[in-house]
Amino acid sequence: MTTSAITVREEKQGFLPWLWMWLTTVDHKKIGILYLCGAGLFFLIGGIEAILIRIQLSVPQNDFLVGSTYNQVMTMHGTTMIFLAAMPAIFALLNAVVPLQIGARDVAFPFLNALGFWLFFLGGLILNVSWFLGGAPDGGWTAYAPLSTEFLGSGMDFYILGLQVAGAGTLMGGINFLVTIINMRAPGMTFMRMPLFTWTALITSALILFAFPALTVGLFFELFDKVFGANFFNSVNGGNGVIWEHIFWIFGHPEVYILILPAFGVISEVVPTFAKKRLFGYTSMVFATVLIGFLAFMVWVHHMFTVGLGPMANSLFAIATMAIAIPTGMKIFNWMFTMWGGQVHYTTANLFAVGFIPTFVLGGVTGVMLAVPAADFQYHDSYFVVAHFHYVIVGGVVFGLLAGLFYWWPKMFGKFLNEKLGKVTFWFFFFGFHVTFFPQHFLGLMGMPRRYFTYLKGDGLATGNMISSLGAIGMAIAIILLLINIVMTTANGKKAKGDAWGFGRTLEWSIPSPAPEYNFAQTPLVKGIDPLWKAKMEGSHKVTPAEPLGDIHMPSSSILPFLMSLALTVASFGFIYADQSGTALNAGSLIFAGIGVALLFLMMLIHSLKDDHGYHIHKHEIIEAEREAE
């Protein structure tokens, strides 16, 4: 290539250059950090909403949050935690780790990666500004129609368009990682040599590819029903609300596996590393992951057992649902066999990983209970369900994400989080979590329905709810400790070496912490599972390179992803304000929306026409950077 390589990359000082750098970056490691910040922000917002819910429910007949206000807080808690906290946190880890684990210099589509992040972030903002613009969505995170399309206020417009924008970002991220993992593995890294976190990332991306279009289509139907007066879900005019339930859960069930699979992947990395043993049953782990991904699309009706689809449909989906317990059980046993006979080091990351196992099993057991249709008629829409999905999503996904966060933090930032404080965080979170959610099983069995804002004095639900609310304080303390930990160690934390924990097994630990912008000075040659461990066992500290040292081609940064997302945000607000609930559409707002869409296409045109060859990092610069890192 004969591009005039522009390698002016001196660090400019000051706030504006710093802001510009983050707005324009296409580096997967920086985008990972952006995702983490975005996820963290929305996690705190969702957490505050959770605390508000627990305050309202702590005593009977409380009037702290009543009626629609409670519905808004409850809806936004669920929506925020699933779409704006858990999803981006997973993309944070994927971005920070997957290219390094497969020995790649970047993701397949760096521009798309940045676009995915900005779409998620601005979609999240669209959802959350609804608090100040006439009320938040209040139809539950499932937005069942026709309730949400015919009977609720403008909040649901923010839900529909905010999720549409954020969902587009997620879909792009999924496609990006699919192509990255299939096409950009280092020489010698066959599929059966990929680290398990990368495997789960691959299957999760495939699930995103197949599940998110269902949500996109469903949200468009709701948009047409709500804003333009269509009748997809309006039974008065011949529509059918059950179609929304189908569409939502055809997306929704794979969505929970999109969340849990990367958490499984994290556990499969953390447990072997801190047991100093290779993962037990690697092949069966891969098989179980693929099987869970496959079954994810066969079970959505277990959310709809009480709709009345008949005993045939219910039984089929019940059996398919129970079948998922088999691959999941394989994973649980493989982790335990990995620890068996190993030298287990209880770092904070490993505490979260080990704490994950029994907690997730509890959630899995209630899952199988819920999969029995006859029993589900009792459990349905009760606090038993609330307890179940918090056990799998907090006890599974959040435990896994926190394990991954403590484990890869040194790789992302070059500094360790404080281990002592981290362990205190774990114990507060672990006990806080179980005290909060364990009583909710019994509250549900005693008849407490989900999504109700209060209960009566004589219902016998006061004690359980009080305990549950007290437990939430424990989780809040844990999160505050984590924040203190982050601030403290960012100021003066212990610096991390390349192989930060000393017993890294996979490729990401073979390069400096944090990884240089080109990741690998020389692409590594992979000769087996756990290439770094193999190299260390053979007495060398470096993985054999597959190529001589040379110039490295890099993509140049661009502001277009941010501007494109901004244009879609403008369009979204146009559509939100075009909705006049029943009366004629607001023409001015529709023109506003049109301008947003036109700007988006203009930006796409600019991106297509502008020839951008990127730039090169020269060999001598790499040698210098590598020497500095040592």
């Binding site: 299939i182 495939a206 590819l209 197949f210 269902a214 059918n240 059950v242 179609i243 189908h246 569409i247 055809i250 699309f297 066969m298 009706v301 009345g308 689809l309 008949g310 045939m312 449909a313």
Partner: protein
């Protein structure tokens, strides 16, 4: 030997190209034929059962999609394993969705 290896290779290459061109033509003509047949089937709707026509049209459509994918979008060639896998998986998910909408949308 009068023939060297590069001559043979270029001859084989040409043969392959010709073969491919014939494939394109044949599948193109067949696709037009299928389209015409579908139209004819609808035109004869007074004398043929409606369901039969529907099944026939859908079959023609599926065959055309297969031709399109395999001959015009090169799915029959090597190294197309992943596109094939994801295409069929996507089709399966879409099929499942449609089946559920027509069979279990409401009380059965």
């Amino acid at each position: 030997m009068a023939l060297n290896q590069s001559d043979i290779n270029s001859y084989l290459e040409k043969q392959k190209k010709r073969q491919e061109l014939i494939h394109y033509f044949v599948s193109f003509v067949l696709m037009i034929l299928f389209t015409v047949l579908a139209f004819v089937a609808v035109m004869l709707r007074d004398s043929i059962n409606d369901y039969l026509i529907a099944v026939f049209i859908v079959t023609m459509a599926v065959v055309q999609v297969v031709f399109q994918l395999y001959y015009f979008m090169h799915m029959k060639e090597q190294d197309h394993g992943f596109p094939t896998l994801f295409l069929y998986s996507g089709a399966a998910v879409a099929f499942l969705t449609v089946i559920s909408f027509v069979s279990i949308v409401w009380i059965s």
